[in-house]
């Protein structure tokens, strides 16, 4: 690890004063929460901040559910959120996305805030033996385009970066229309999760809209009856403890056998958590018959671009949507 000064501030204002910046690779100061992604990046020299500011004990870790919806404190752990009985009951897609993430140990350590800000698993990003990675070293090129890219995104890519966002949680949350509460020294703001992550464009090293010094304090999810009938489906090479090859989060509002409204988002395929409104619209008003689902799911491929090894994801993600809708639709 690059040498850093470890700050253990007493309260949040003291932490904010350091002006640390999450989610970009050239920041001289960064926060550390559960550390489960940060320590990997430090160990492999992907991140080399001079200052590391610990958020331990500074942020809310409560889970609250009220008539307005759900509020997850940024410091709540993946394990606690996944196991919360009312989340299991009212927001199964969130619990399922978390239980299908990482391992029990990591879930005990990792926080909500950190989860949304974990960096891509693009293996070129994580191997500094590759000089070319625009996300890690702006302007250096992209080793994945024209390289081994089975791991990479097919949606929202640019010629400068095709890295997939790795978070399962974020896929579930973006489907449910979640928002991120952000605090900086000057005050608070709320950003819809759909607008929180940036597309890579020509600046893939900027991953979110966070400004220097801002922290995530909470995630809110609006109340919705749809969330009860929701499901997270994850496809992977081995049976557990692996990032998604492809995943789908689905929430349905059903009227008998008819879908009144649907929410659909995809993981493993997008450069950010990828909601597919056109699929949602096509599902609305239809039933659960396979042909109709298939037709609606096909709209997810809009604008998708494979790079060779990851071409199969374009087909697989449609099938994942179909299956996830079927499972959610079959829920009471």
């Amino acid at each position: 690890m690059h040498p850093f000064t470890l700050e253990r501030p007493r309260d949040l204002p003291a932490a904010l004063a350091f002006g640390a910046q999450a989610g970009r690779n050239d920041a001289p100061a960064e926060y550390i929460a559960g550390g489960t992604d940060m320590v990997q990046l430090l160990q492999e020299y992907v991140r080399r901040p001079d200052r590391l500011i610990s958020l331990a004990g500074l942020l809310d870790n409560r889970v609250e559910i009220g008539p307005q919806g759900l509020r997850l404190g940024a410091a709540a752990t993946m394990a606690d959120v996944a196991a919360h009985p009312r989340i299991i009951e009212q927001f199964p897609v969130i619990s399922e996305a978390l239980l299908n993430s990482a391992s029990p140990q990591v879930r005990n350590q990792a926080t909500m805030g950190g989860n949304l800000l974990q960096r891509t698993r693009c293996p070129y990003f994580r191997d500094v033996g590759y000089a070319a990675c625009n996300k890690r070293a702006p302007g250096s090129g992209c080793a994945a385009v024209g390289g081994e890219n089975r791991w990479h995104a097919v949606l929202g890519t640019s010629e400068h970066c095709i890295a997939a966002n790795p978070s399962d949680l974020a896929v579930a949350l973006v489907a449910l229309g979640a928002s991120v509460e952000v605090r900086r020294a000057g005050g608070d703001r709320t950003v819809p999760l759909a607008e929180f992550h940036r597309l890579p464009g020509d600046a893939p090293h900027l991953e979110t809209v966070l400004e220097p010094g801002e922290v995530i304090t909470a995630i809110t999810v609006p109340a919705s009856p749809m969330a009860r009938r929701s499901h997270y489906l994850k496809v992977r090479d081995r049976a557990s403890f692996e990032f998604a090859v492809v995943s789908a989060a689905v929430a349905l509002d059903m009227d008998g056998g008819t879908i009144r409204q649907a929410r659909v988002a995809l993981g493993g395929v997008g450069t950010k958590p990828w909601r597919v409104p056109r699929v949602e619209a096509a599902l609305a008003g239809g039933g659960l018959d396979p042909a109709a689902l298939r037709r609606a799911a096909a709209l997810a491929a809009d604008g998708a671009q494979g790079r060779g090894h990851n071409d199969f994801k374009i087909e697989l993600m449609q099938r994942a949507i179909v299956r996830a809708v079927e499972i959610a639709g079959a829920r009471a």
Partner: protein, 711 residues
């Protein structure tokens, strides 16, 4: 009091140490004043180091020394080839010149007070290269004929063999299968990462090292440094898995010793997981063409098996890829041809069931394709082509229990309920498939020595410089010793893993039990007889008490001519059930039954562990493992344990069975044992892909069978 321990399910004698964390592995023998070494590795596939600037690293806090090719001492690198080293070519020399032949080659060593300081200073070494043209795309290399083909058991084979008229027989065969099978590069990935602690005392060197062969490590390092082998002591009581990765003495061991010399204090080097993909070998990528010709009634008329594998530019590593095709089935016309693709990579090495694991994948896939073409049950096809003797070596088998294995495994599995038609078995949405394959692995017997020491208090210490990377050498040798001595197991202490102990052969190729076990048995018998004779008593305890001082017996055992008289192999059969999600392409193994003819089973508890472990390894090979070699530059982007998936708990089939058919082999070695460590991995991958075909109608000819291949 019973002292019949061979065949008993004795619990591991080192179990308590392992479950309490007391067992110490190579990196855990910290010495006073020990410093830490971190290796800087190349990022070009071929070329020369143009400049190397270590000034910033040298200024780093805690840094003791930075060694590069410019300041490192020239080492003699005297000729030395252990049985585990490729016989053709020359091992990689470290820090001796500016040449770089592959990615990840060690080019500098930083020594510092703490591991954090060493790692960071290594990151500060600045290197520029003059790249030269490189070859890192196996699909564009013209494979060449190797000088020889060698099995991991040291047996030398011609790279090409031929009997009968294979082309003619194939051309006129009524039914044919001709296909190409690809097996990607795989890494051993033992959970313990390789580590060495080196400490000099004058011109004597002690190494605490992760090794499957302490004596060979001592000899190799002695040759590298030009010192007598007796001056090098290697200690390695526990090995945290290896599967072949610790057979050779890799460059980091030399670097630890070099660093300790330069620093004038003990140095510990532990590789990172990423480094494990660049410095301790791997199972090579192989491309195999198999052509089978048969008569309508299923008799094999021709087998042609042509395979090539990657190797480095500086050594010819060739594995026994084609071994099984030469004798597994009866066939008058056989042609095998082995070639090497020389690339700018580091030298591959033996990995669990080397050669057989990949070669049998191709052969047994092709046999399944033939069964489909013949519309014949795959077990039936194999039974029809069962040979009477080894038709390649023209020798009888010392024992061969294939028929019993097919029968036992098929029965336990319920094979007779299989419906032959692909896609004919379902469980809800899932397609169910049943598949099988044959397994085989050669058995050898190498010279070994052991010493038994009976003490007046009626206890015994038995020693041999063997290794235990997991199969349970500590325990099984204690059993053999206790039985031969006629003492209760608690009174016998077996010690291994130190060059001060009597010579043992390499711990690999499933030959430890046979070789070391036979030596241990002989030494213990001799000690017992000596004690009884000298003590003049019929009771051993009485005899040693009377003698009043230790009674020692050392024995060297040597293989006889059995390998000239017999073809010696373990055989087995694996049956699996898979469930494939036809929409999402995910395959999960639901049940796996293996039956093995493995001679005498010294400890059924440990042997079962080894077998199910090999089967799990086979699941990894079949469904997920693939070290991706970036064809553009020879790096391995997924060099970790997240993007290189290995099986986890959830991949374990709910049903796992290992059956040991009764087998008495009077020839293979004095104990009548055959190892199972390797054979348990053989045949698993083809059984799984054959089951996938049965489930889906899709033939997977390129491993691993990931979802993308099954959409």
């Amino acid at each position: 009091m019973t002292t019949a321990f061979i065949g008993q399910p004795v619990s591991r004698v080192d179990g308590r140490q392992k479950v309490t964390g007391a067992a110490r592995y190579a990196a855990e023998f910290d010495l006073p004043r020990q410093a830490h070494g971190a290796i800087v590795r190349s990022t070009v596939a071929n070329g020369r180091i143009a400049s190397i600037d270590s000034a910033a690293a040298e200024r780093g806090p805690g840094v003791v020394a930075v060694l590069t090719h410019r300041n490192a001492p020239r080492l003699p690198y005297s000729p030395h080839k252990g049985a585990v080293d490729p016989q053709v070519g020359e091992r990689l020399h470290v820090l001796q010149d500016d040449r770089v032949s592959h990615q990840g080659q060690p080019i500098a060593l930083v020594i510092a007070d703490t591991v954090e300081q060493a790692r960071h200073a290594a990151a500060l070494v600045r290197v520029t290269y003059t790249p030269e043209s490189w070859t890192t795309d196996i699909t564009r290399v013209a494979p060449v004929q190797p000088t020889q083909q060698k099995t991991d058991q040291g047996e030398v084979r011609p790279p090409a063999t031929r009997r009968g008229d294979p082309e003619g027989a194939l051309a006129s065969a009524e039914v044919k299968v001709e296909q190409t099978y690809i097996h990607p590069r795989e890494n051993h990935n033992p959970i313990e990462m390789h580590a060495t602690i080196a400490a000099w005392d004058g011109d004597r060197l002690t190494l605490w090292d992760k090794t499957q062969w302490v004596h060979n490590t001592a000899e190799e390092i002695a040759a590298v440094f030009g010192i007598p082998a007796q001056n090098v002591r290697v200690i390695s009581p526990f090995v945290g898995g290896a599967f072949g990765s610790s057979l050779r003495t890799w460059p980091h061991v030399t670097l630890a010793a070099l660093g300790a010399r330069a620093a004038g204090r003990p140095v510990k080097v532990m590789l990172s997981r990423r480094e494990m993909y660049y410095g301790v070998g791997y199972r090579p990528h192989t491309v195999q063409q198999v052509a089978l010709g048969a008569s309508r009634d299923g008799r094999l008329a021709a087998i042609m098996h042509d395979g090539y594998q990657e190797t480095s530019t500086y050594e010819e590593f060739s594995e026994a890829l084609l071994n099984a095709s030469r004798f597994l089935y009866s066939c008058p016309n056989v042609d095998t041809r082995h070639r090497l693709a020389r690339m700018n990579v580091h030298t591959p090495t033996y990995m669990r069931a080397p050669g057989e694991a990949s070669g049998v994948f191709a052969l047994e896939s092709a046999m399944d394709e033939l069964a489909v073409a013949l519309n014949m049950d795959p077990v039936e096809l194999r039974l029809l082509n069962e040979p009477e003797r080894d038709e390649f070596k023209k020798l009888p088998f010392s024992s061969r229990s294939t028929r019993a294995c097919y029968r036992a495994a098929a029965e336990r599995f319920g094979w007779s309920r299989r419906s032959a038609q692909p896609r004919s078995m379902r469980d809800g949405r899932l397609l169910i498939g049943w598949g099988m394959a044959t397994a085989t692995y050669p058995m050898n017997f190498a010279p070994a020595s052991a010493m038994a020491r009976l003490l007046p208090d009626g206890t015994a210490e038995v020693t041999s410089a063997a290794s235990d990377m997991g199969p349970g050498t500590w325990t099984s040798m204690t059993q053999v010793a206790a039985e031969a001595l006629g003492l209760p197991i608690e009174r016998v202490k077996f010690v291994l893993g130190d060059t001060r102990l009597p010579n043992a052969p390499v711990h690999g190729g499933s030959l430890t039990m046979a070789s070391v076990g036979s030596a241990v048995q002989a030494a213990c018998r001799k000690a017992r007889e000596d004690a009884l004779a000298r003590g003049g008593a019929n009771d051993l305890l009485e005899a040693v008490r009377r003698i009043g001082q230790p009674v020692e017996a050392s024995v060297d055992t040597n293989p006889g001519d059995e390998s000239q008289r017999f073809s010696m192999h373990a055989f087995g059969a694996v049956f699996v059930e898979v469930a494939v999600d036809p929409d999402l392409g995910e395959t999960r193994v639901r049940s796996m039954v293996g039956a093995y003819g493995a001679g005498r089973i010294v400890n059924p508890k440990l042997t079962r562990s080894q077998c199910i472990g090999g089967m799990i390894g086979g699941i990894g090979m079949a469904l997920m493992e693939h070290a991706v070699l970036d064809a553009r530059n020879g790096r391995v982007p997924n060099a970790n344990l997240a993007e290189y998936p290995v099986p986890v708990h959830a991949d374990t089939p709910p049903v796992m069975e290992a059956i040991f058919v009764e087998e008495h082999d009077l020839h293979v070695n004095p104990l009548g044992v055959k190892g199972v460590g390797e054979i348990a991995m053989v045949g698993v991958a083809p059984a799984i892909t054959n089951a996938i075909f049965h489930a889906t109608g899709k033939r997977i000819r390129e491993l691993p069978a990931t979802p993308d291949k099954l959409l």
